[in-house]
Assembly symmetry: C2
Protein backbone atom coordinates (compact mmCIF):
# COMPACT_ATOMS: atom_id res chain seq x y z
CA UNK A 1 0.00 0.00 0.00
CA UNK A 2 1.32 3.40 -0.94
CA UNK A 3 1.74 6.04 1.70
CA UNK A 4 -0.87 8.74 1.20
CA UNK A 5 0.68 11.58 3.11
CA UNK A 6 -1.22 14.21 1.16
CA UNK A 7 -4.46 13.06 2.78
CA UNK A 8 -3.06 13.55 6.29
CA UNK A 9 -5.06 16.61 7.52
CA UNK A 10 -2.10 18.51 8.99
CA UNK A 11 0.10 17.76 6.00
CA UNK A 12 -2.53 18.82 3.50
CA UNK A 13 -3.25 22.07 5.32
CA UNK A 14 0.42 23.04 5.33
CA UNK A 15 1.01 21.88 1.78
CA UNK A 16 -2.01 23.73 0.41
CA UNK A 17 -0.88 26.97 2.04
CA UNK A 18 2.58 26.47 0.56
CA UNK A 19 1.39 25.84 -2.97
CA UNK A 20 -1.15 28.65 -2.89
CA UNK A 21 1.52 31.13 -1.88
CA UNK A 22 3.46 32.57 -4.81
CA UNK A 23 6.57 32.36 -2.63
CA UNK A 24 7.58 28.73 -2.86
CA UNK A 25 10.53 26.73 -4.10
CA UNK A 26 8.59 25.04 -6.85
CA UNK A 27 7.72 28.35 -8.48
CA UNK A 28 11.27 29.67 -8.38
CA UNK A 29 13.34 26.55 -8.96
CA UNK A 30 11.67 23.41 -10.26
CA UNK A 31 8.67 24.64 -12.27
CA UNK A 32 10.49 27.19 -14.48
CA UNK A 33 13.01 24.54 -15.55
CA UNK A 34 10.42 21.80 -16.01
CA UNK A 35 8.26 24.06 -18.17
CA UNK A 36 11.24 25.23 -20.24
CA UNK A 37 12.04 21.59 -21.02
CA UNK A 38 8.53 20.74 -22.27
CA UNK A 39 8.08 19.84 -25.92
CA UNK A 40 5.46 21.73 -27.94
CA UNK A 41 2.12 20.86 -26.34
CA UNK A 42 -0.23 21.75 -29.20
CA UNK A 43 -2.66 18.95 -29.90
CA UNK A 44 -0.87 16.58 -27.53
CA UNK A 45 -2.32 13.96 -25.20
CA UNK A 46 -0.71 14.45 -21.83
CA UNK A 47 -0.58 12.33 -18.69
CA UNK A 48 0.37 14.05 -15.42
CA UNK A 49 1.47 11.53 -12.77
CA UNK A 50 1.04 13.06 -9.33
CA UNK A 51 -1.03 15.97 -10.67
CA UNK A 52 -1.73 17.47 -7.25
CA UNK A 53 -4.15 20.38 -7.40
CA UNK A 54 -4.11 20.48 -11.20
CA UNK A 55 -2.07 23.63 -11.81
CA UNK A 56 0.15 21.87 -14.32
CA UNK A 57 -2.77 20.18 -16.08
CA UNK A 58 -4.42 23.58 -16.55
CA UNK A 59 -1.13 25.03 -17.80
CA UNK A 60 -0.92 22.27 -20.44
CA UNK A 61 -4.40 23.11 -21.72
CA UNK A 62 -3.48 26.83 -21.87
CA UNK A 63 -0.49 25.81 -24.00
CA UNK A 64 -2.71 24.00 -26.46
CA UNK A 65 -2.70 20.39 -25.27
CA UNK A 66 -5.65 18.42 -26.64
CA UNK A 67 -6.33 16.41 -23.49
CA UNK A 68 -4.76 15.99 -20.10
CA UNK A 69 -5.23 13.12 -17.66
CA UNK A 70 -4.15 13.86 -14.12
CA UNK A 71 -3.58 11.05 -11.63
CA UNK A 72 -3.04 11.56 -7.94
CA UNK A 73 -3.22 9.26 -4.94
CA UNK A 74 -4.71 11.96 -2.73
CA UNK A 75 -8.45 12.49 -2.55
CA UNK A 76 -7.80 15.95 -1.14
CA UNK A 77 -5.66 16.91 -4.09
CA UNK A 78 -8.08 15.54 -6.67
CA UNK A 79 -10.98 17.34 -4.93
CA UNK A 80 -9.04 20.63 -5.14
CA UNK A 81 -8.18 19.98 -8.78
CA UNK A 82 -11.83 19.35 -9.67
CA UNK A 83 -12.78 22.78 -8.38
CA UNK A 84 -11.41 24.11 -11.69
CA UNK A 85 -13.06 21.73 -14.17
CA UNK A 86 -12.20 21.62 -17.86
CA UNK A 87 -13.72 19.49 -20.59
CA UNK A 88 -10.24 18.61 -21.68
CA UNK A 89 -8.93 17.49 -18.28
CA UNK A 90 -9.79 14.20 -16.59
CA UNK A 91 -8.73 13.62 -13.00
CA UNK A 92 -8.33 10.12 -11.59
CA UNK A 93 -7.72 9.34 -7.95
CA UNK A 94 -5.35 6.41 -7.64
CA UNK A 95 -1.75 5.32 -7.42
CA UNK A 96 0.74 5.40 -10.26
CA UNK A 97 1.21 1.67 -9.72
CA UNK A 98 -2.43 0.58 -9.86
CA UNK A 99 -4.16 3.02 -12.22
CA UNK A 100 -4.62 1.71 -15.79
CA UNK A 101 -3.06 4.08 -18.31
CA UNK A 102 -4.04 4.99 -21.87
CA UNK A 103 -1.74 6.16 -24.67
CA UNK A 104 -0.08 9.56 -24.54
CA UNK A 105 2.37 11.78 -26.41
CA UNK A 106 3.82 13.15 -23.20
CA UNK A 107 4.00 11.91 -19.64
CA UNK A 108 4.94 14.52 -17.05
CA UNK A 109 5.56 13.96 -13.36
CA UNK A 110 6.59 16.73 -11.00
CA UNK A 111 8.19 15.67 -7.72
CA UNK A 112 6.10 12.51 -7.33
CA UNK A 113 8.28 9.53 -8.27
CA UNK A 114 10.39 9.73 -5.11
CA UNK A 115 7.25 8.59 -3.26
CA UNK A 116 6.99 5.47 -5.44
CA UNK A 117 8.67 2.34 -4.11
CA UNK A 118 9.11 0.54 -7.44
CA UNK A 119 10.79 3.10 -9.68
CA UNK A 120 11.74 0.68 -12.41
CA UNK A 121 8.20 -0.72 -12.58
CA UNK A 122 6.78 2.79 -12.86
CA UNK A 123 9.21 3.74 -15.60
CA UNK A 124 8.40 0.61 -17.59
CA UNK A 125 4.70 1.36 -17.23
CA UNK A 126 5.30 4.89 -18.55
CA UNK A 127 7.28 3.51 -21.50
CA UNK A 128 4.30 1.32 -22.49
CA UNK A 129 1.89 4.26 -22.11
CA UNK A 130 3.84 6.48 -24.51
CA UNK A 131 3.32 6.53 -28.25
CA UNK A 132 6.51 5.90 -30.29
CA UNK A 133 8.80 8.91 -29.97
CA UNK A 134 6.82 10.21 -27.00
CA UNK A 135 8.43 12.19 -24.19
CA UNK A 136 8.77 11.45 -20.49
CA UNK A 137 9.66 14.55 -18.48
CA UNK A 138 9.90 14.23 -14.73
CA UNK A 139 11.46 15.73 -11.65
CA UNK A 140 12.50 14.02 -8.43
CA UNK A 141 14.38 15.05 -5.34
CA UNK A 142 18.06 14.97 -6.24
CA UNK A 143 20.05 11.94 -5.00
CA UNK A 144 22.38 14.44 -3.30
CA UNK A 145 19.48 15.52 -1.09
CA UNK A 146 17.95 12.13 -0.39
CA UNK A 147 21.16 10.18 0.33
CA UNK A 148 21.93 11.17 3.91
CA UNK A 149 19.55 9.95 6.59
CA UNK A 150 20.31 13.19 8.43
CA UNK A 151 18.52 15.01 5.64
CA UNK A 152 19.23 18.65 6.44
CA UNK A 153 22.01 21.23 6.15
CA UNK A 154 24.75 21.12 8.75
CA UNK A 155 24.59 24.47 10.54
CA UNK A 156 26.87 26.39 12.88
CA UNK A 157 25.74 27.51 16.34
CA UNK A 158 24.16 30.66 14.82
CA UNK A 159 22.10 28.59 12.40
CA UNK A 160 24.17 29.43 9.30
CA UNK A 161 24.23 26.67 6.71
CA UNK A 162 27.78 25.27 6.52
CA UNK A 163 27.28 22.54 3.95
CA UNK A 164 24.88 19.78 3.04
CA UNK A 165 25.96 16.32 4.24
CA UNK A 166 26.37 13.33 1.92
CA UNK A 167 26.24 9.88 3.48
CA UNK A 168 24.62 6.45 2.89
CA UNK A 169 24.66 7.15 -0.86
CA UNK A 170 24.59 3.53 -1.99
CA UNK A 171 22.08 2.51 0.67
CA UNK A 172 18.97 2.89 -1.45
CA UNK A 173 15.45 2.76 -0.09
CA UNK A 174 13.26 4.52 2.45
CA UNK A 175 14.12 7.83 4.03
CA UNK A 176 11.81 9.11 6.73
CA UNK A 177 11.62 12.89 6.59
CA UNK A 178 9.68 15.59 8.37
CA UNK A 179 7.72 17.89 6.10
CA UNK A 180 4.68 19.46 7.81
CA UNK A 181 4.30 16.16 9.67
CA UNK A 182 6.78 13.57 10.86
CA UNK A 183 7.12 10.25 9.12
CA UNK A 184 6.88 11.24 5.46
CA UNK A 185 8.40 8.38 3.45
CA UNK A 186 10.46 9.05 0.36
CA UNK A 187 12.80 6.72 -1.52
CA UNK A 188 16.46 7.45 -2.08
CA UNK A 189 17.81 6.16 -5.37
CA UNK A 190 21.24 6.69 -6.84
CA UNK A 191 21.75 8.53 -10.08
CA UNK A 192 22.78 5.19 -11.56
CA UNK A 193 19.41 3.65 -10.68
CA UNK A 194 17.48 6.65 -11.97
CA UNK A 195 19.22 6.84 -15.35
CA UNK A 196 19.99 3.20 -16.09
CA UNK A 197 16.41 2.23 -15.18
CA UNK A 198 15.17 4.58 -17.89
CA UNK A 199 17.52 3.18 -20.48
CA UNK A 200 16.61 -0.40 -19.57
CA UNK A 201 12.95 0.54 -20.16
CA UNK A 202 13.79 1.66 -23.71
CA UNK A 203 14.19 5.39 -23.19
CA UNK A 204 16.85 7.59 -24.76
CA UNK A 205 18.02 10.36 -22.48
CA UNK A 206 17.58 13.78 -24.06
CA UNK A 207 18.45 16.31 -21.38
CA UNK A 208 18.81 16.62 -17.64
CA UNK A 209 18.63 19.68 -15.46
CA UNK A 210 19.63 20.47 -11.89
CA UNK A 211 17.59 23.65 -11.77
CA UNK A 212 18.94 26.86 -10.30
CA UNK A 213 16.69 29.56 -8.86
CA UNK A 214 15.38 32.33 -11.07
CA UNK A 215 16.64 35.88 -10.41
CA UNK A 216 13.14 36.88 -9.35
CA UNK A 217 13.16 33.98 -6.90
CA UNK A 218 16.41 35.09 -5.29
CA UNK A 219 15.05 38.64 -4.99
CA UNK A 220 11.71 37.65 -3.48
CA UNK A 221 12.89 34.69 -1.41
CA UNK A 222 16.62 35.04 -0.75
CA UNK A 223 17.03 31.59 0.78
CA UNK A 224 16.44 29.94 -2.60
CA UNK A 225 19.98 31.08 -3.43
CA UNK A 226 21.09 28.04 -1.42
CA UNK A 227 20.07 26.02 -4.48
CA UNK A 228 23.33 27.26 -6.01
CA UNK A 229 25.20 25.48 -3.21
CA UNK A 230 23.47 22.10 -3.55
CA UNK A 231 20.85 20.98 -6.03
CA UNK A 232 17.49 19.93 -4.58
CA UNK A 233 15.92 18.64 -7.75
CA UNK A 234 16.85 16.54 -10.74
CA UNK A 235 14.78 16.89 -13.91
CA UNK A 236 15.08 14.24 -16.59
CA UNK A 237 13.78 14.36 -20.15
CA UNK A 238 13.77 11.16 -22.16
CA UNK A 239 12.24 9.86 -25.37
CA UNK A 240 10.81 6.40 -25.83
CA UNK A 241 11.89 4.39 -28.90
CA UNK A 242 10.23 5.25 -32.21
CA UNK B 1 48.59 25.80 -21.14
CA UNK B 2 47.53 22.62 -19.42
CA UNK B 3 48.79 21.87 -15.96
CA UNK B 4 51.23 18.98 -16.11
CA UNK B 5 51.18 17.84 -12.53
CA UNK B 6 52.30 14.32 -13.40
CA UNK B 7 55.72 15.68 -14.37
CA UNK B 8 56.19 17.33 -10.97
CA UNK B 9 58.98 15.16 -9.42
CA UNK B 10 57.34 14.75 -5.98
CA UNK B 11 53.93 14.10 -7.48
CA UNK B 12 55.20 11.52 -9.92
CA UNK B 13 57.16 9.67 -7.26
CA UNK B 14 54.10 9.36 -5.02
CA UNK B 15 51.77 8.54 -7.87
CA UNK B 16 54.03 5.84 -9.29
CA UNK B 17 54.26 4.16 -5.88
CA UNK B 18 50.48 4.29 -5.58
CA UNK B 19 49.79 2.78 -8.97
CA UNK B 20 52.46 0.10 -8.61
CA UNK B 21 50.93 -1.05 -5.34
CA UNK B 22 48.07 -3.51 -5.78
CA UNK B 23 46.33 -1.75 -2.87
CA UNK B 24 44.81 1.31 -4.48
CA UNK B 25 41.37 2.72 -5.04
CA UNK B 26 41.54 2.42 -8.81
CA UNK B 27 42.02 -1.35 -8.62
CA UNK B 28 39.14 -1.89 -6.20
CA UNK B 29 36.62 0.71 -7.31
CA UNK B 30 37.04 2.41 -10.66
CA UNK B 31 38.87 -0.11 -12.83
CA UNK B 32 36.63 -3.16 -12.22
CA UNK B 33 33.55 -1.14 -13.21
CA UNK B 34 35.22 0.54 -16.19
CA UNK B 35 36.43 -2.81 -17.52
CA UNK B 36 33.03 -4.44 -17.01
CA UNK B 37 31.44 -1.70 -19.11
CA UNK B 38 33.81 -2.16 -22.06
CA UNK B 39 32.38 -3.39 -25.35
CA UNK B 40 34.00 -6.42 -27.00
CA UNK B 41 37.54 -5.32 -27.88
CA UNK B 42 38.41 -7.92 -30.53
CA UNK B 43 39.80 -6.28 -33.64
CA UNK B 44 38.99 -2.79 -32.36
CA UNK B 45 40.97 0.41 -32.79
CA UNK B 46 41.18 2.01 -29.38
CA UNK B 47 42.24 5.47 -28.21
CA UNK B 48 43.17 5.90 -24.54
CA UNK B 49 43.07 9.56 -23.46
CA UNK B 50 45.27 10.04 -20.42
CA UNK B 51 46.88 6.60 -20.80
CA UNK B 52 49.31 7.07 -17.91
CA UNK B 53 51.77 4.20 -17.60
CA UNK B 54 49.98 2.12 -20.23
CA UNK B 55 48.36 -0.56 -18.05
CA UNK B 56 45.00 -0.11 -19.71
CA UNK B 57 46.49 -0.03 -23.23
CA UNK B 58 48.20 -3.36 -22.55
CA UNK B 59 44.95 -4.76 -21.13
CA UNK B 60 43.14 -3.82 -24.36
CA UNK B 61 45.73 -5.71 -26.44
CA UNK B 62 45.38 -8.74 -24.17
CA UNK B 63 41.62 -8.59 -24.81
CA UNK B 64 42.18 -8.70 -28.57
CA UNK B 65 42.19 -5.03 -29.61
CA UNK B 66 43.85 -4.55 -33.01
CA UNK B 67 45.63 -1.30 -32.13
CA UNK B 68 45.75 1.08 -29.21
CA UNK B 69 46.89 4.68 -29.23
CA UNK B 70 47.70 6.09 -25.81
CA UNK B 71 47.95 9.84 -25.27
CA UNK B 72 49.26 11.44 -22.12
CA UNK B 73 50.49 14.92 -21.30
CA UNK B 74 53.20 13.62 -18.99
CA UNK B 75 56.65 12.76 -20.34
CA UNK B 76 57.23 10.68 -17.20
CA UNK B 77 54.11 8.63 -17.79
CA UNK B 78 54.83 8.07 -21.47
CA UNK B 79 58.43 7.07 -20.64
CA UNK B 80 57.11 4.49 -18.15
CA UNK B 81 54.57 3.22 -20.68
CA UNK B 82 57.26 2.76 -23.33
CA UNK B 83 59.20 0.43 -21.05
CA UNK B 84 56.64 -2.24 -22.06
CA UNK B 85 56.60 -1.78 -25.84
CA UNK B 86 54.10 -3.52 -28.12
CA UNK B 87 53.86 -3.40 -31.90
CA UNK B 88 50.19 -2.74 -31.52
CA UNK B 89 50.46 0.18 -29.07
CA UNK B 90 51.51 3.70 -30.01
CA UNK B 91 52.17 6.23 -27.26
CA UNK B 92 51.98 9.95 -27.94
CA UNK B 93 53.03 12.61 -25.47
CA UNK B 94 50.68 15.57 -25.71
CA UNK B 95 47.48 17.11 -24.45
CA UNK B 96 44.00 15.91 -25.27
CA UNK B 97 43.30 19.38 -26.63
CA UNK B 98 46.27 19.70 -29.01
CA UNK B 99 47.02 16.16 -30.20
CA UNK B 100 45.57 15.30 -33.62
CA UNK B 101 43.38 12.21 -33.45
CA UNK B 102 42.71 9.44 -35.95
CA UNK B 103 39.57 7.31 -36.25
CA UNK B 104 38.68 4.77 -33.60
CA UNK B 105 35.99 2.28 -32.62
CA UNK B 106 36.40 3.03 -28.93
CA UNK B 107 37.72 5.98 -26.98
CA UNK B 108 38.47 5.30 -23.32
CA UNK B 109 39.56 7.81 -20.71
CA UNK B 110 40.16 6.89 -17.09
CA UNK B 111 40.14 9.73 -14.56
CA UNK B 112 41.68 12.28 -16.92
CA UNK B 113 38.92 14.58 -18.16
CA UNK B 114 38.56 16.39 -14.83
CA UNK B 115 42.01 17.87 -15.58
CA UNK B 116 40.77 19.30 -18.89
CA UNK B 117 39.46 22.86 -18.80
CA UNK B 118 37.30 22.68 -21.93
CA UNK B 119 35.15 19.57 -21.40
CA UNK B 120 32.71 20.29 -24.17
CA UNK B 121 35.52 20.88 -26.69
CA UNK B 122 37.13 17.58 -25.68
CA UNK B 123 33.86 15.69 -26.00
CA UNK B 124 33.20 17.16 -29.44
CA UNK B 125 36.72 16.16 -30.50
CA UNK B 126 36.08 12.61 -29.31
CA UNK B 127 32.77 12.48 -31.22
CA UNK B 128 34.63 13.36 -34.45
CA UNK B 129 37.33 10.76 -33.76
CA UNK B 130 34.82 7.91 -33.38
CA UNK B 131 33.54 5.82 -36.26
CA UNK B 132 29.72 5.72 -36.57
CA UNK B 133 28.30 3.71 -33.67
CA UNK B 134 31.60 3.92 -31.79
CA UNK B 135 31.78 3.97 -28.01
CA UNK B 136 33.08 6.59 -25.60
CA UNK B 137 33.69 5.18 -22.12
CA UNK B 138 35.18 7.46 -19.51
CA UNK B 139 35.46 8.07 -15.80
CA UNK B 140 35.80 11.35 -13.93
CA UNK B 141 35.74 12.39 -10.32
CA UNK B 142 32.08 12.52 -9.28
CA UNK B 143 30.49 15.99 -9.08
CA UNK B 144 29.60 15.12 -5.47
CA UNK B 145 33.33 14.97 -4.68
CA UNK B 146 34.49 17.96 -6.68
CA UNK B 147 31.75 20.42 -5.71
CA UNK B 148 32.87 21.60 -2.28
CA UNK B 149 36.02 23.70 -2.14
CA UNK B 150 36.69 22.08 1.23
CA UNK B 151 37.20 18.82 -0.62
CA UNK B 152 37.46 16.30 2.19
CA UNK B 153 35.28 14.38 4.66
CA UNK B 154 34.08 16.23 7.71
CA UNK B 155 35.54 14.37 10.69
CA UNK B 156 34.93 14.32 14.42
CA UNK B 157 37.69 15.05 16.93
CA UNK B 158 38.81 11.40 16.78
CA UNK B 159 39.17 11.56 13.00
CA UNK B 160 36.05 9.51 12.23
CA UNK B 161 34.39 10.44 8.95
CA UNK B 162 31.00 12.01 9.76
CA UNK B 163 29.85 12.88 6.26
CA UNK B 164 31.12 14.36 3.01
CA UNK B 165 30.23 18.04 2.53
CA UNK B 166 28.37 19.37 -0.49
CA UNK B 167 28.72 23.06 -1.26
CA UNK B 168 29.37 25.39 -4.26
CA UNK B 169 27.71 22.83 -6.53
CA UNK B 170 26.72 25.25 -9.27
CA UNK B 171 30.00 27.17 -9.08
CA UNK B 172 31.79 25.27 -11.84
CA UNK B 173 35.49 25.60 -12.59
CA UNK B 174 38.82 25.15 -10.88
CA UNK B 175 39.28 23.36 -7.60
CA UNK B 176 42.76 23.39 -6.09
CA UNK B 177 43.40 20.14 -4.28
CA UNK B 178 46.32 18.55 -2.47
CA UNK B 179 47.33 15.14 -3.78
CA UNK B 180 51.00 14.31 -3.15
CA UNK B 181 51.72 18.00 -3.76
CA UNK B 182 49.71 21.15 -3.14
CA UNK B 183 48.11 23.04 -5.98
CA UNK B 184 46.77 20.23 -8.16
CA UNK B 185 44.10 21.77 -10.39
CA UNK B 186 40.95 19.86 -11.28
CA UNK B 187 37.70 21.14 -12.74
CA UNK B 188 34.33 20.76 -11.06
CA UNK B 189 31.45 20.29 -13.44
CA UNK B 190 27.85 19.57 -12.62
CA UNK B 191 26.16 16.39 -13.72
CA UNK B 192 24.10 18.56 -16.05
CA UNK B 193 27.22 19.84 -17.79
CA UNK B 194 28.75 16.36 -18.03
CA UNK B 195 25.69 14.66 -19.52
CA UNK B 196 24.14 17.43 -21.62
CA UNK B 197 27.56 18.20 -23.14
CA UNK B 198 27.73 14.63 -24.40
CA UNK B 199 24.25 14.77 -25.89
CA UNK B 200 24.96 18.11 -27.56
CA UNK B 201 28.01 16.49 -29.19
CA UNK B 202 25.80 13.81 -30.74
CA UNK B 203 26.23 11.01 -28.21
CA UNK B 204 23.51 8.72 -26.92
CA UNK B 205 23.94 7.78 -23.29
CA UNK B 206 24.07 4.02 -22.82
CA UNK B 207 24.92 3.45 -19.17
CA UNK B 208 26.39 5.20 -16.19
CA UNK B 209 27.98 3.77 -13.09
CA UNK B 210 28.88 5.14 -9.68
CA UNK B 211 31.18 2.25 -8.85
CA UNK B 212 31.15 0.54 -5.49
CA UNK B 213 34.17 -1.29 -4.09
CA UNK B 214 34.69 -4.96 -4.80
CA UNK B 215 34.41 -7.39 -1.89
CA UNK B 216 38.12 -8.16 -2.22
CA UNK B 217 38.81 -4.44 -2.02
CA UNK B 218 36.87 -4.05 1.24
CA UNK B 219 38.71 -7.05 2.70
CA UNK B 220 42.19 -5.91 1.69
CA UNK B 221 41.70 -2.16 2.13
CA UNK B 222 38.79 -1.57 4.53
CA UNK B 223 38.64 2.19 3.98
CA UNK B 224 37.34 1.69 0.43
CA UNK B 225 34.03 0.79 2.12
CA UNK B 226 33.55 4.55 2.44
CA UNK B 227 32.74 4.48 -1.26
CA UNK B 228 29.36 3.10 -0.19
CA UNK B 229 28.77 6.33 1.74
CA UNK B 230 29.63 8.74 -1.08
CA UNK B 231 30.60 7.98 -4.67
CA UNK B 232 34.07 9.16 -5.75
CA UNK B 233 33.78 8.34 -9.42
CA UNK B 234 31.29 8.64 -12.22
CA UNK B 235 31.67 6.37 -15.25
CA UNK B 236 29.79 7.21 -18.42
CA UNK B 237 29.29 5.05 -21.50
CA UNK B 238 27.91 6.67 -24.62
CA UNK B 239 27.58 5.84 -28.31
CA UNK B 240 28.11 8.27 -31.12
CA UNK B 241 25.47 8.51 -33.86
CA UNK B 242 25.47 5.82 -36.54
Amino acid sequence: MQQNIYDHPDFFKGYKQLRQSPLNYNNFVEQPALRRMLPDLKGKHVLDLGCGMGEFARFCIEQGAAEVTGIDLSENMIAEARRHPSERITYVQGSIEDTPLGQYDLVVSSLALHYVKDYEGAVQKVAKALRPGGTFLFSVEHPIVTASKQGDWVKDEKGNKLYYPIDHYHEEGQRIISWYVDGVIIYHRTLTTLLNGLMRAGFTLQEIEEPIPTEEGIRLMPRVANELRKPSFLIIKAEVGR
